[in-house]
């Protein structure tokens, strides 16, 4: 390849608007946000002073913030597990080719199209925690089907309640994971499977030694994307419960702080969220970059 700016000038020029725009609107604004998190701006009054990492220490000492982190943890575990399990299950069931595969695929995928605001309208009602006579939503159908013992208070449960909030999230995103896995399955060359079968491998061994390894990049991709979405969850919780103690996560706590005009606190929470996301994403990006360079 020829060297020289005539070679790399044009492509660099083509991508430079994006570089500049991202530089300003992502990194520049993040910088502005971090600057606020180092200040003591706790109200609408603009004048502030530099307080270093005080806000961060204060936040981690707060029981309320720790509680929001615990909620986030519970939500993340169930959300990731649910989407990965159902996504994989559906992809696996559909992979072999079933009649009306298109129908099943479309149905499993469509909840992704719905906004969290719209989804919240119905899931709010479904996850209503009233039981017995006043039950509606899922509790009511359990009652109707004679499964009354399954009634519970859903997200109203301190501790595990966030698992209930994971339900609509799983509903909306398991289809996306399914699509990723389906693409992964379909990308495994048939010859590979035939060869393994020829060697006398059982179905289970086939999966363990041929298919799963081929799928692991896809699974990793899905895990990372779902994981980072989970850290940012906000719209869904606001639509279902609004911001209350039982379902408080860092993103909603940030919102509460913002409405109370505590800019420093909300900026601090935002930066912490960013760091969590970075911890997840940066190794992944490094790993993919390295894997690609090997391929190249």
């Amino acid at each position: 390849m020829k060297k020289g700016y005539k070679n790399w000038g044009p492509p660099l020029l083509l991508v430079s608007p994006t570089i500049i725009v991202i530089g300003i609107f992502v990194y520049g604004l993040i910088g502005a946000n971090v600057a606020v998190s180092f200040s003591n701006r706790n109200s609408l009054v603009p004048a502030t002073e530099f307080v270093g990492l005080d806000n961060y220490f204060a936040l981690f000492a707060e029981e309320r913030f720790i509680h929001s982190l615990q909620n986030l943890g519970v939500f993340t575990v169930f959300f990731i597990a649910g989407t990965m399990i159902f996504g994989f299950l559906w992809a696996w069931m559909l992979d072999k080719g079933v009649t009306a595969e298109g129908v099943f695929r479309s149905v499993f995928l469509f909840p992704m199209a719905i906004s969290f605001v719209a989804s919240g309208v119905v899931w709010r009602w479904l996850l209503n925690s009233a039981e017995g006579d006043r039950a509606s939503g899922l509790n009511r159908i359990f009652e109707n089907l004679g499964l009354g013992f399954l009634q519970n208070s859903w997200w109203n449960e301190p501790g595990w309640g966030m698992a209930a909030i994971a339900l609509p999230a799983i509903w909306q995103l398991a289809g996306y994971v399914m699509a990723l896995f389906l693409a992964g399955f379909r990308g495994i060359p048939e010859e590979l499977r035939e060869a393994a079968r020829m060697d006398g491998a059982t179905e289970w061994k086939l999966y363990r030694y041929v298919i799963f390894p081929q799928l692991s990049p896809v699974a990793l991709s899905a895990l990372i994307i779902v994981g980072h979405m989970s850290l940012k969850v906000f719209d869904l919780i606001m639509a279902i419960t609004k911001s209350i103690y039982q379902t408080e996560v860092p993103a909603t706590y940030l919102w509460v702080a913002l409405t109370a005009n505590d800019y420093a606190k909300s900026a601090t929470i935002a930066t912490i969220l960013l760091l969590f996301v970075a911890v997840l994403i940066v190794p992944y990006l490094v790993y993919t970059a390295r894997a690609e360079r090997k391929q190249r």
Partner: protein, 310 residues
Amino acid sequence: MSIATELEKKPRISGKPEMPGQSELRNRKRISRTVKYVFLVLFLVIVLMPVYVLIVTSLKPPQDVNPATSWGLPVRWPWEPALDGGPTGFDNWALAWNALSASIGRTFLLAIPAALISSFLGAMNGFVLARWRFPYADIVFTFILFGMFIPYQAIMTPLVQMKTSLGLPSDISTLLMVHIIYGLPICTLIFRNYYAGIPHELMEASRMDGAGMLRTFGSIVLPLSVPGFVVTIIWQFTSAWNDFLFALFLSNQNDGPVSLSLNNLAQGAQLANYGAAMAGALLASLPTLIVYIVLGKYFIGGLMSGSVKS
């Protein structure tokens, strides 16, 4: 995975003659297939259940909406007169339509250009980062990609300040810019991974012919890009249509997209009219649902052609 991969996998048809013990195998396979179908249908029902609730509740007259009959079909259908001549199920939809129609129109004007423009920009970026490269291209890619993962609340207040100091209006046009900007990372990612499947030979041949970067892009790469475009267009359309946070801060209910108006309808209602709120949720979701139902096949096809993989 190359772009030339088939979009759909054809089911295998075995042409081998039967061997002893095959019929037992066939029965077992039939049973397992039936079991699989049962589960698939069960999952189908579960996934569709919230939609059932949305539809059924939106058709019930407001007075008939109570917890005990929540799962039942409407006692009084919209075309029947309601109790004491009160509002019928149709009135729910009329109310929802009145509240949402104008904003739905505006959201079309937002989501379609956003999808098209950011897709095109993503394609250019992806091309340049995947095939027509330059030094440190990977670093640039990572630089851009990271922007996809930030929590948007973090940049909201400085963003609003910027909007005001530039004197930008509080309507769809500003949101369009914002969605294009923040859609650049994901569109670039999708196309970069997609174009990674273009054979090097194609690029070499084009260079050999003396074509420059833009010529190569326009006449060789673009025509091959349809699956990639499908994925980005669907993704960006949906993302712009469903966005709430940017709409909340950068616009208002008179000039903004449908998510704000739906929120007004569903949350602002004192003495909540669940029927109208559910009708509104359905109305607001219709366009994206149609996109998915019609184009879902291509979406998966695009995914399988290497658009989104690691």
